[in-house]
């Protein structure tokens, strides 16, 4: 697979950060089609960019034979987005707290923390095929 592939409400990219903008354009497009308000679109787009960054870099380790997929659904008043990679998974409870004094001036380690702050629900599931992170945000 090379360029972004769209199938219904899902977009897939090879594991390279050069495709971050394509996922953002697709997700922002769908959310505008759903008439979500701009500030919420930004919160969701920020969160998706965090998780795609992680899936490309930590999950698939930038192996561009591996794929990152993002799918999006409207369920009642909720937007539900799934980000999938083909990596080893991780334990979100084991992540160090970016607010700790010794981490405050580090330049990484805030991604999952920000997603948790911006989204209503974050669920990380590790399977033998990879990691599926599901985020949910109410749009009313």
């Amino acid at each position: 697979m090379h360029e972004p592939i769209i199938k219904g409400n899902m977009i897939s990219i090879p594991s390279s950060l050069e495709y971050l903008t394509n996922i953002d354009d697709f997700i922002e497009g769908i959310l505008r089609g759903f008439e979500v308000e701009e500030s919420t679109i930004a919160d969701i787009a920020i969160s998706v960019s965090e998780l795609v960054n992680n899936s490309v870099s930590h999950g698939n380790k930038s192996d561009d034979g591996k794929t990152v997929s993002v799918s999006i659904a409207k369920k009642g008043n909720d937007i539900e987005i799934k980000i999938e990679d083909q990596g080893q998974g991780f334990d979100p409870r084991a992540i160090s707290n970016p607010l700790d004094e010794e981490n405050l001036l580090k330049d990484t380690g805030r991604g999952i923390f920000i997603v948790n702050a911006l989204m209503d629900k974050v669920d990380v599931q590790t399977t033998k095929d990879g990691t599926i992170t599901t985020i949910t945000k109410s749009i009313v």
């Binding site: 950060l17 050069e18 903008t21 960019s49 965090e50 960054n53 805030r110 920000i114």
Partner: protein, 113 residues
């Protein structure tokens, strides 16, 4: 993200534009900063008015730019922090780290004090 820069009263003003989400241009700002440090220009204002949003990669770039300048005897300040970015700075407890100003003029002037 696109990056332009200019100089005002010996202060470098960096203007990133668009979204700062990582990927190919994540290092643009940091590279530019090193150029200026090499020229002994170490008073820097980052104008955020044109930034729609940033993620933790963007925050990381701001932090590392801030510490790089500080370690080289310079200073990085922020101007025109939008509401979306301010709330990210607040939840990550980074807000007190950065000196920030409502206008570029105020930020530039602050270096004289």
């Amino acid at each position: 993200m696109k990056l332009t820069d200019r100089e005002e009263n010996g202060v470098i003003i960096l203007e990133p534009n668009g979204k700062i989400m990582g990927g190919p241009d994540a290092s643009l700002l940091h590279d530019k900063l090193y150029e200026f440090i090499d020229q002994d220009k170490k008073k820097v204002v980052v104008d955020l008015s044109g930034v729609d949003w940033m993620n933790s990669t963007g925050l990381g770039i701001l932090i590392s730019s801030y510490t790089t300048l500080r370690n080289n005897g310079g200073k990085l300040k922020l101007a025109n922090v939008t509401e979306k970015i301010r709330s990210l700075l607040v939840i990550t407890k980074l807000e007190p780290v950065f000196e920030s100003y409502d206008t570029i003029a105020d930020a530039v002037k602050s270096f004289d004090e």
